[in-house]
């Protein structure tokens, strides 16, 4: 088993298992809302498989990344709504 991966969610360090997705890391960091909808509602992941786009957030400066389809890499910086 390889060692855990450490990423930053809104500046806070979080350790996750290898191959964990960013969506999972954000939830492990204790957050359930990922983005703000066009009318201002808080939203989090729904489909978990890259279809619904509800889990999108900013990864290393790139916006609208689907966190459920993105595997964590050491040092990654993630920003939620």
């Amino acid at each position: 088993m390889s060692s855990p991966v450490r990423i930053f969610v809104n500046g806070e360090a979080v350790s996750v298992p290898p191959m964990a997705t960013v969506a999972v890391a954000v939830m492990i960091a204790g957050r359930s809302s990922f983005r703000t909808s066009v009318s201002g509602e808080l939203r989090g992941p729904l489909c978990g498989m890259g279809i619904c786009f509800e889990c999108r957030l900013t990864v290393d400066g790139e916006s609208h990344v689907r966190s459920c389809q993105t595997v964590c890499r050491d040092g990654m910086k993630v920003v939620t709504a």
Partner: protein, 391 residues
């Protein structure tokens, strides 16, 4: 630009089975949007039950457009040309709107399973599993095994229709049922509303006679599956023949994209398509009886878990139906068709491109989404500026 004898869209059971059979004699490239092979069923497995060691797999690749005349697929990082194409794009969950369904911590049933397979810990979490179909039992058993508390499975189908199915499923069903000791399996029961401030805290459940409150940390709710037909539609594919070949020459379809039939049918169809596309006609033909049996089983299942009409009455006027553009049920009620709603309200015009609200409004209003146009997934302009593939 790259090319291959056979390109397969989708690395789930059908795509892998097709790749395994075809790569014996042809060069095969498999493209998938996910980070690893397995599709949804085999997600997170270190070794999938089927594998295709001779095929080249390209992961994290979205197919954004396709051209049947050029025989090409446009990916975000360039074009790939195919001699033959096997579409094995699988299925997604059917989500139906009800008050509170947009709250964080309301997931699909397959959705939460996918997240847990990707590392989400659920030990000690109280998770209600709801919706319809055999997936609910599998998801509940899986969540329990991971340490979650599953107080109830709310299956919308009535008992008499579910029971024969449970009897038909042999050893696997018994094992599942056994692991479910302690979980209440409520048939004829559905989620009327999800409540909470910033995330779901409790649900209103209903069995047609009474309504009650149920606390939870997470809700896992899915109303079955619907095929991912966008790529097939874009290429203009009509019905398939015995060899899984569509009305478009050299384009095949296999697995859940054909209609919901389960993993056994997907593997069989994938093998038939893989054999046929690599000129192994007799080997493909030998699998026809196996496919027929799997199709019959799938048809019986789909009949047993037919959606009840009460679910169409769940949304309130202010319930959001299109989650990308926040279009409410009341605004849609004031329009007459998918097209009119799209023009008036931006229904289906957000990043999911109607993948969630399309099937939902089909169930709620009987609307048929319009023809598919590229890009079939949100794409960057740069992807269209390469290699003169723009149209």
């Amino acid at each position: 630009m790259t090319s291959a004898d056979i390109v397969i869209a989708g690395a789930g059971p059908a795509g892998i089975a097709a790749a395994f059979r075809a790569s014996a004699s042809k060069n095969v490239v498999v493209i998938d949007d996910n980070p690893a092979a397995g599709g949804q069923v085999w997600r997170g497995m270190a070794r999938t039950p089927w594998a295709a060691p001779n095929a080249v797999f390209r992961f994290n690749r979205r197919i954004i457009s396709a051209d049947a005349v050029r025989r090409s697929l446009l990916l975000e990082d360039g074009e790939i040309r195919y001699g033959k194409l096997i579409i094995a794009t699988g299925a997604r969950e059917l989500f139906l709107p009800f008050p509170g369904w947009t709250l964080p911590n309301v997931f699909g049933a397959g959705g939460i399973q996918a997240l847990v397979k990707c590392g989400l810990p659920v030990k000690g979490k109280k998770i209600v599993v709801a919706g319809t179909g055999p997936l609910l039992l599998a998801v509940a058993a899986y969540l329990k095994k991971q340490g979650a508390i599953v107080p109830i499975i709310a299956e919308q189908a009535p008992f008499r229709k579910v029971f024969p199915f449970a009897l038909r499923k042999t050893i696997r069903a018994l094992a599942l049922r056994a692991s479910l000791i302690g979980v209440r399996y409520a048939t004829g029961c559905w989620v009327e509303a999800a409540e909470g401030d910033h995330q779901v805290r409790r649900l209103r459940l209903r069995d047609g006679v009474k309504t009650w409150s149920q606390e939870c940390d997470y809700l896992a709710v899915g109303y079955g599956l619907c095929p991912n037909t966008e790529l097939a539609s874009l290429l203009g594919c009509g019905a398939v023949d015995d060899f899984q070949q569509t009305s478009v020459a050299d384009v095949y379809c296999a697995g859940e994209v054909m209609g919901i039939g389960g993993v056994d049918l997907s593997i069989t169809e994938g093998q038939i398509a893989g054999y046929a596309a690599s000129d192994q006609t007799e080997a493909a033909r030998a699998l026809f009886p196996q496919r027929r049996r799997a199709q019959q089983f799938a048809a019986a299942l789909n009949k047993a878990f037919k959606l009840r009409p009460e679910l169409q009455a769940l949304p309130h006027g202010n319930t959001i139906v299109c989650r990308c553009e926040d279009v409410t049920f009341a605004r849609l009620q004031a329009t007459a068709s998918w097209r009119e709603a799209k023009l008036q309200t931006r229904l289906g015009m957000g990043p999911c491109q109607g993948r969630v609200c399309g099937p939902a409004t089909q169930f709620l209003f009987g609307w048929q989404p319009e023809s598919v146009r590229p890009p079939i997934f949100p794409a960057r302009i740069a992807s269209f500026l390469e290699e003169g593939t723009t149209k």
